[in-house]
């Protein structure tokens, strides 16, 4: 079945969902697409919410695709409505208003949700997450100069929240359980450089500690840490982690581990049901296993793959690996793969100019790059990402990798020419 008779239903409206629309439309211009989201907004970019909060962009600039995207791609939208049940037996999704929607192909791309551990006093007002546009709209209303905020978690989201709040002249204290900031992507040296940079811009840090209670009458007015320290605050942001939003498949036979289990075609164990993005366990080509890697490029590519397969294609997801590009107060950093190996068998090359905020670290195994951490000077690091992806033996040019002039000219002639002539299609 194809064309007009086909009904694609997509749950979600972010990178994976949009990737799926674009993937479907590569192969099928006519089938009906219905996209459902519990948020009442045109597709917007989640990573941009901190830019919006800081006032760097307007709300109209949050859009992830042009305003006419749904019209151009013939997508019917049901926005601001929750899916309460997926009925695999009848091939239907049930909406909160009890409407039932029959699907021929279903994509579950409902993303992640904040992980919030049980902390005493969580029911008080003034405690926010930092994942959705509505979160930052609420936070934006109370941010005035001199207001105090506690951010719980010094991961990617926590530090982006801290940066935005700092730019709004909020007095920010970040509390982190680990011994360093961005502990999942940075090593000790890089983490200290980033922390110092953030401190120069007025952000305060308390490491090796966490919040055990929120205090106050109705509103939170302070937090108590594990060591009984009390930190005053006018509001708090929880940014401890993001977990797959798998509640949506509760009561269905769809196999779920940490995230929804999928194969290389982004199919779940149930016929005609696919999953993509932060909700699922996509293929990690570096660890050679399926696992949740909640990053936007992966979500888009998984969604695009799923979409093409839903429309009758046969496209394997090439797999991805952890990678992040992020910056704080003008200090950029890009990391990928295994940047901080926790066992033997890896070689490490480092070059660093701490006073200029520059740190470069490349991790190798068997003469192949398996990870890097670049801070300050991140120009052209995509070359390294691709060397990881293509598992290129770098033994003939490894000494040049950390130099500023590293580029395609450093490659052996044959490999360079293939690349530059573009005959070797680079597929993600």
């Amino acid at each position: 079945m194809r064309g007009m008779d086909m009904h694609y239903v997509i749950i979600g409206n972010s990178a994976a969902a949009i990737g799926a629309v674009e993937g479907i439309r590569k192969l099928d211009r006519e089938g009906r697409i219905t996209l459902i989201s519990d948020e009442a907004y045109h597709t917007y970019s989640r990573p941009l919410i901190s830019y919006y909060l800081a006032g760097k962009i307007e709300e109209s600039q949050l859009i992830y695709r042009e305003p006419d995207f749904y019209v151009k791609n013939s997508v019917d939208t049901i926005l601001g409505t929750k899916v309460v049940q997926i009925d695999c037996g009848n091939q239907e999704v049930v909406l909160e208003n009890q409407d039932r929607l029959r699907y021929d192909r279903l994509l579950i791309a409902a993303g992640g949700k904040p992980f919030i551990p049980q902390i005493e006093g969580l029911d008080k007002k003034g405690i926010y997450s930092f994942l959705k546009l509505d979160d930052v709209k609420q936070i934006g209303n109370i941010c005035t100069e001199g207001v105090k905020a506690v951010v719980i978690g010094a991961g990617l989201i926590g530090l982006k929240a801290a940066e935005a709040l700092g730019e709004l002249k909020v007095e920010v204290t970040v509390v982190e359980l680990a011994d360093r900031v961005l502990s999942t992507i940075l090593d000790q040296t890089a983490a200290e450089m980033v922390q110092k940079h953030l401190e120069l811009h007025g952000i305060n840090f308390i490491l090796n500690n966490t919040v055990k209670s929120f205090n106050g009458e109705e509103n939170v007015c302070s937090v108590t840490l594990n060591d009984e320290t009390i930190v005053e605050c006018d509001f708090a942001v929880t940014a401890i982690g993001v977990i797959p939003n798998t509640g949506i498949v509760g009561g269905t036979p769809i196999q779920t581990n940490r995230g929804i289990a999928v194969d290389r075609f982004m199919r779940t164990n149930i016929q005609d049901v696919y999953a993509a993005g932060d909700i699922c366990e996509g293929f990690d080509s570096l660890h050679n296993m399926n696992r949740v890697i909640p990053i936007l490029p992966g979500a888009y590519m998984q969604g695009e793959t799923a979409g093409q397969n839903m429309a009758g294609g046969s496209v394997e997801y090439a797999g991805g690996f952890a990678m992040n590009s992020i910056g704080f107060f003008g200090l950029p950093m890009i990391t990928a793969g295994i940047g901080t190996p926790d066992c033997e068998g890896y070689e490490i090359m480092v070059s660093s100019v701490p006073e200029n905020g520059i740190y470069k670290k490349v991790v190798l195994k068997d003469d192949k790059i398996c990870g890097f951490i670049y801070l300050g000077n991140i120009d052209r690091v995509g070359i390294l990402t691709n060397l990881i992806k293509e598992r290129v033996d770098v033994s003939t040019f490894r000494d040049g990798i950390l130099t500023d002039s590293f580029g395609l000219a450093s490659f052996p002639g044959e490999y360079r020419k293939n690349k530059m002539l573009g005959e070797k299609a680079v597929r993600w």
């Binding site: 695009e304 950029p332 395609l408 530059m420 680079v426």
Partner: protein
């Protein structure tokens, strides 16, 4: 899947003398004074960076531009939707009004062909094949040695 549908700029490295005029013509073509090198450099303080990466490892040198590749991982990694591959022409362009300079494109470009332009509000800078001029790319036109071909 091949990249054969899009015409693009190829370097013939054996003819490249390393003069870097390609960069000068690229900057000029994307400045306020499209046909005037002197004015572009003397008067346009906001002239963009070259959309070219010049590489040299003597005696080897060449100019490298965005490959406008089919996979275009930059468009997939882009967090704002600013980096797009035109479905008709195959040309990859960055809409600077929507780019916030997160450098996700730099993270994934296998060629290292995307630059950071911090002068014009922190945006990604790359070759657009001079698509808006309707002419062949300025670097190709200006190369004195025929070291760049558009095919």
């Amino acid at each position: 899947m091949t990249d054969s549908n899009v015409k693009k700029v190829y370097a013939r490295e054996e003819y490249c003398a390393g003069c870097r005029l390609c960069e000068v013509y690229c900057v000029t073509a994307h400045s306020r004074y499209k046909d005037d090198v002197v004015k572009a450099y003397k008067l346009d303080e906001k002239r963009p960076l070259p959309g070219i990466v010049f590489e040299e490892r003597k005696p080897l040198s060449f100019a490298l531009q965005c490959r406008h590749c089919d996979a275009s991982p930059c468009t997939k990694a882009c967090i704002t939707g600013a980096m797009r591959k035109d479905s008709e022409t195959g040309v990859v362009t960055n809409d600077r009004s929507r780019c916030v300079g997160c450098w996700s494109c730099i993270m994934v470009c296998p060629f290292g062909a995307i630059g950071r332009d911090e002068r014009n509000g922190k945006t990604a800078s790359k070759c657009d094949l001079c698509i808006s001029t309707g002419d062949i790319p300025a670097c190709v036109k200006g190369c004195p040695n025929g070291a760049l071909i558009y095919d």
